[in-house]
């Protein structure tokens, strides 16, 4: 990759329509080198379509995708020479063993020497804990074993860009943990672009996140920024007593932009949106303590990725950073 272009993946207005279905609608993406890029969205959001467009398996209806500075349509084979790809549901030739599958995959990239190829195959088998099943026919493999083999074949060429479509979908918690570890380890050498439904995994390993919904990009940015929340800073307060008086006082504060209230048994729950976090931090609790109320809980709202995901998917918010 050239020094000038620090983006491994760039898409401009990338769109795909299947008959009357708009699978992807004007997608603009930029993926930095050596990042772990989480690609999120509900089923049918356009994640797999995007990946297939990047790999040249399907053609865009409009727009372009550039990988390593090369066009995904005209330079597809050269791009694929530097990519490792794990499909959502990995399918391999059933007449091959795991070892044969990895050797077969490696031979698309390497002419030899045979010894080095065999060593790489062994390394990959060990990496995904399939060494003891290396010479078994793939026909006998479980879903999890196929997934692990898929992860191994995607890395056999030490790719510059690793594209993983739902890598942990059919793995047990231990398998998932191993995949995340492998991804973290590979970050030094590769850029990792992966789609998933498992938000917890994204939060653990990704540095940048994109959320797609109905073919459109609805959120994009570094994970810390997305987790900061799009609703601004909110304090959650549970209190009892003469809450009406306290509510009037808090509402009149110049740095309070809104209060949502709800009731849980005899407890009032407030969500106080503030515009000045420092003023809120130093004054809000003190002010309440001086009122005829009992404050049972007081905290600043922490977002996790699931909150952000639900907000943008259900709320239709656009939180591009």
């Amino acid at each position: 990759m050239s020094q000038i272009n620090a983006y491994v993946i760039e898409t401009h207005g990338l769109s795909k329509t299947y008959k009357n279905l708009q699978a992807l609608n004007v997608l603009d993406l930029k993926v930095h080198q050596n990042s772990i890029f989480g690609f999120l969205g509900p089923n049918g959001a356009g994640k797999t379509t995007t990946i297939k467009l990047m790999l040249g398996l399907t053609r865009p209806t409009a727009g372009t995708a550039t990988i390593f500075g090369m066009d995904s349509v005209t330079n597809s084979v050269d791009i694929r020479a530097r990519i490792g790809y794990l499909p959502q549901e990995p399918h391999f030739y059933e007449y091959m063993t795991a070892r044969q599958t990895l050797r077969f995959t490696a031979e698309f990239f390497f002419k030899g020497p045979k010894k080095a190829i065999d060593e790489r195959v062994e390394e990959m088998l060990g990496l995904v804990d399939l060494s003891d099943k290396a010479d078994r026919s793939i026909k006998t493999f479980s879903g999890g074993e196929r997934q692990r083999l898929g992860i191994a074949q995607a890395q056999v060429n030490y790719p510059d860009l690793l594209i993983l479509d739902e890598p942990a979908a059919s793995l047990d918690p231990l398998g998932r943990r191993d995949v995340l570890e492998v991804m973290s380890r590979l970050r030094k050498y590769s850029t990792i672009f992966y789609s998933t439904h498992i938000l917890d995994d994204v939060q653990r390993v990704s540095d940048t996140v994109v959320i797609l919904n109905k073919g459109k990009l609805v959120a994009q940015g570094p994970i810390e920024e997305l987790l900061a929340g799009s609703e601004g800073i909110i304090y959650i307060i549970h209190l009892k007593g003469d809450v009406d008086l306290a509510l009037n006082i808090v509402q009149s504060l110049p740095w309070v932009s809104g209060i949502k209230t709800s009731q849980n048994n005899d407890e009032s729950i407030w969500q106080v949106s503030v515009t000045d976090p420092e003023a809120a931090e130093s004054q809000l609790l003190k002010l309440l303590v001086n009122q005829p109320v009992v404050v049972n809980e007081y905290r600043r709202k922490q977002y996790d990725l699931e909150d952000v995901f639900m907000q943008v998917i259900e709320g239709g918010q656009d939180v591009r950073k």
């Binding site: 297939k52 790999l55 398996l57 399907t58 053609r59 084979v77 050269d78 694929r80 020479a81 530097r82 990519i83 790809y85 499909p87 549901e89 990995p90 399918h91 391999f92 030739y93 007449y95 091959m96 077969f104 995959t105 031979e107 698309f108 990239f109 390497f110 002419k111 030899g112 020497p113 080095a116 190829i117 790489r120 060429n157 030490y158 790719p159 510059d160 050498y189």
Partner: protein, 264 residues
């Protein structure tokens, strides 16, 4: 790709990138699995058993009739196997997702299609043409105590293979147009078994269908028998042979063009 210094990197460019790898895999599927001997067993036993039953009868038919029976079994029926095998080569791979998987590697689409043509042609030639042919000719030679011209032997094998290749290329081409197995199997098998009726209905079709290469019409030997027995070659059958070769090549090119537009 750091960490790959120990390797000799594939540097091929152009349409043939990945062809060698796919070809090795395709040939390994034929000759390093049970496939080759299962096919040899099916077609060898079909031709051998039927021919042996007829030939070793106390009152065997004349040699000319034996050759005709032999040719129908070795020249016509294996085409059914060719269609079944070839529909799996493309439609099977598209449906199972293996085509999308290998095409995510540095492999061109022409290389993918041509690897299917070449590997399956060789597998079919050996297991469905040469082995049953040798077996059948051996039985006839023993019964009739005749000797055959080795060149005629090879020419006859070539004609039978061209007839099979027509169905191979046709099925492959259809596999690039359809995603379901029905039409990809049904159309070639329909043509295979309806050829005689179609030619009866429109005699000019004998020039574009491979029927007369392997099956007699009236008292005329099929072209493969004419080559085998070194009898005069009917001109119209030579035209058919040339037409079948051209059609087959055309089918492959159409298949290549269509597969290039395929979306996964």
């Amino acid at each position: 790709m750091s960490g790959n210094e120990a390797f000799e990197i594939v540097s091929e460019r152009g349409w043939s990138r990945g062809l060698n790898t796919m070809l090795r895999s395709g040939l390994a599927r034929w000759f390093k699995t049970r496939m080759w001997w299962i096919q040899c067993l099916i077609w060898g036993s079909l031709v051998g058993s039927i021919l042996a039953t007829i030939a070793f009868n106390p009152q065997p038919p004349p040699p000319a009739d034996l050759y005709m029976i032999f040719m129908v079994f070795v020249g016509l029926f294996p085409a059914v196997g060719v269609v079944i095998i070839m529909q799996d080569a493309l439609v099977g791979e598209k449906r199972e997702g293996t085509a999308a998987w290998v095409l995510s590697k540095p492999l061109t689409r022409p290389a993918f299609v041509l690897s299917k043509v070449i590997a399956n042609s060789l597998g079919i030639l050996v297991t469905m043409v040469i082995v049953p042919f040798i077996l059948g000719v051996a039985i006839i030679t023993i019964v009739t105590k005749s000797t055959l011209n080795p060149l005629g032997y090879l020419e006859a094998i070539g004609v039978i293979f061209i007839s099979d290749f027509f169905f191979l290329a046709l099925t492959l081409m259809l596999g690039t147009f359809f995603d379901s197995r029905g039409p990809v199997i049904g159309i070639p098998l329909g043509i295979l078994f309806m050829q005689q009726n179609l030619i009866g209905f429109l005699p000019a079709l004998r020039y574009v269908l491979p029927w007369t290469l392997v099956v007699p019409i009236g008292n005329t030997n099929p072209l493969a028998i004419s080559f085998l027995l070194k009898t005069p070659l009917p001109q119209d059958q030579l035209i058919t042979l040339a037409a079948i070769v051209i059609e087959s090549i055309l089918f492959v090119f159409i298949g290549l063009w269509r597969f290039n537009r395929e979306e996964f």
